[in-house]
Symmetry: D2
Subunit: 170 residues, 4 copies
């Protein structure tokens, strides 16, 4: 989306409880509450990780893969392996923020996702995370096939068909 299109659609995003998907990206709106801020008057640095996790959860829900349903059906949980996060400008109490997420690469048992937190057109925080599917015993699990296809809706490039390589658990 161009910056103009994004600003025009901000109200629409805020009214969609799970956000919207457009042009290979997921957009999710949230507000900054007192609980998110600290005595420096700004959002506490760990809380952006809560914000972007909410966005990932709602993206998955929109794709039909709610966390608890996935866990109950397959025993698989998402786990974060790595996170790189840059803090450019602080968010403050009552700010209306948008988290914009897109998948960069999709492996057999993991994916890289880029997530940007914006206030209007200003980027406040940008993060890149490596997520993996994990079984309840802690071992890596392959991404379920249907999920894999659904994820291409929030990827900024075509996602290649899953290779026949074995998953890292084997």
């Amino acid at each position: 989306m161009t910056a103009d299109a994004f600003l025009q659609r901000q109200g629409e995003i805020a009214r969609a409880p799970s956000g919207i998907i457009a042009e290979g990206r997921h957009y999710y709106a949230l507000r900054v509450f007192y609980e998110d801020t600290d005595a420096a008057g700004i959002v506490y640095y760990a809380n952006y990780l809560r914000f972007i996790e909410r966005a990932r959860t709602e993206m998955m829900r929109l794709l039909g893969y709610e966390h608890s349903a996935l866990r109950d059906a397959t025993g698989i949980n998402w786990t974060v392996r790595r996170c790189e996060i840059d803090y450019f400008k602080p968010a403050r109490l009552d700010d209306a923020l948008i988290v914009d997420s897109t998948i960069r690469t999709l492996g057999g048992a993991s994916l890289d996702i880029e997530q940007v937190v914006r206030k209007a057109e200003t980027v406040l925080v940008a993060a890149t995370l490596k997520l993996a599917c994990m079984r309840s015993d802690g071992r890596p699990a392959r991404l379920p096939g249907g999920l894999r296809e659904s994820l291409s809706r929030v990827a900024n490039a075509p996602i290649p068909p899953q290779s026949t390589r074995k998953s890292p658990a084997h």
Copy 2:
């Protein structure tokens, strides 16, 4: 609202970023994320206080009294003096909850608010709080006049005109 009316309007509530006001109550929707749960598989008990604070914040925003604007214009912050909270049933990951709030009594510098957290028609948690307006130096402040009138929209009984008693700060 009757239970039926409430259930029918749940989608509408979820799509209203600041919730809705109906029949003297404010209704606000939220989701349970991983950040809200604990190792017992349920929402951690302190986090319901975050949920109900979000609801109060959005209620005030809907009434035209955003926290940060009120603070910047008048130097007044809301503060919680007392909270009684009953935990009936636990909320779990991915639950869609509604916080339903109504003001019970409105004093010169404080108010009592009742807040109930529901999953569909089931009451999970019920809280009563005493809130006060506070100046930046920590002394109590009278509720601004316009706010006082606005609050009658979310009170379940007519709110009497403000008495001419002096505020507790004097």
Copy 3:
């Protein structure tokens, strides 16, 4: 403990990772970090519930009943049924606080505990909670016998022997 004795022992309490038990009360020290504060410059109201839960956890650990060990051995978790909390004065960044806890009444499957958060001799927050033992299926469970006896060390009055009434689960 008298106020003087308390102040003299504050350093000792801070150096005891699980706090100390003296004269029927448990004392636990903690610091206020940025994560605990909000944009009003004070500790966010829900976070006192985190503070007092840490104190209860360390009290139980000191008595030999660590949460995870109790759960793994008996399937029992502690659950909060009700909390009444008064906020008298705010805590701020870097404050050194003491949580002082004592059991008021001990039933067959629940107990009432009083917890006070102090900064030096000043009471900031006072809470009373009803806690119950719960099985993993959500039904109430009797307090294990040995735990019952241990708890008398942190009760401010003799705890009567457990009655032969059946637990509320039956």
Copy 4:
């Protein structure tokens, strides 16, 4: 510290409310409470950022530069510019953890710090952060001179004298 020395000193670290400094590193102990865990039974990923911030705060306190005192005296706050964090193994309820911190590079207005979270000798999480000193107006500030010298106690290599380059704010 060798792994053996570290394990032998774990009790000592736990009894030091602000941790200890040894061989150019700061060691700080903490416990995992229910508040830190999530419904997957492990510590929620954002909460390690809370843990390592507590360690940084106590390290600064030990060096004589408490956050609130620094802010009140100089108007300077610490701010996180960037964080890279790897999650190797999860921590669980009641785990006793040690955060081990050391400064890698020290610039005129910023520093790079490495922080590792361990359970006994096992590394659970490793993070590298860029921190900067910031004035209340959001502009970068030079590290106060005395602080600069003190920080060499927790650096794993000699810290060169501050250059005469102007700070990025000028």
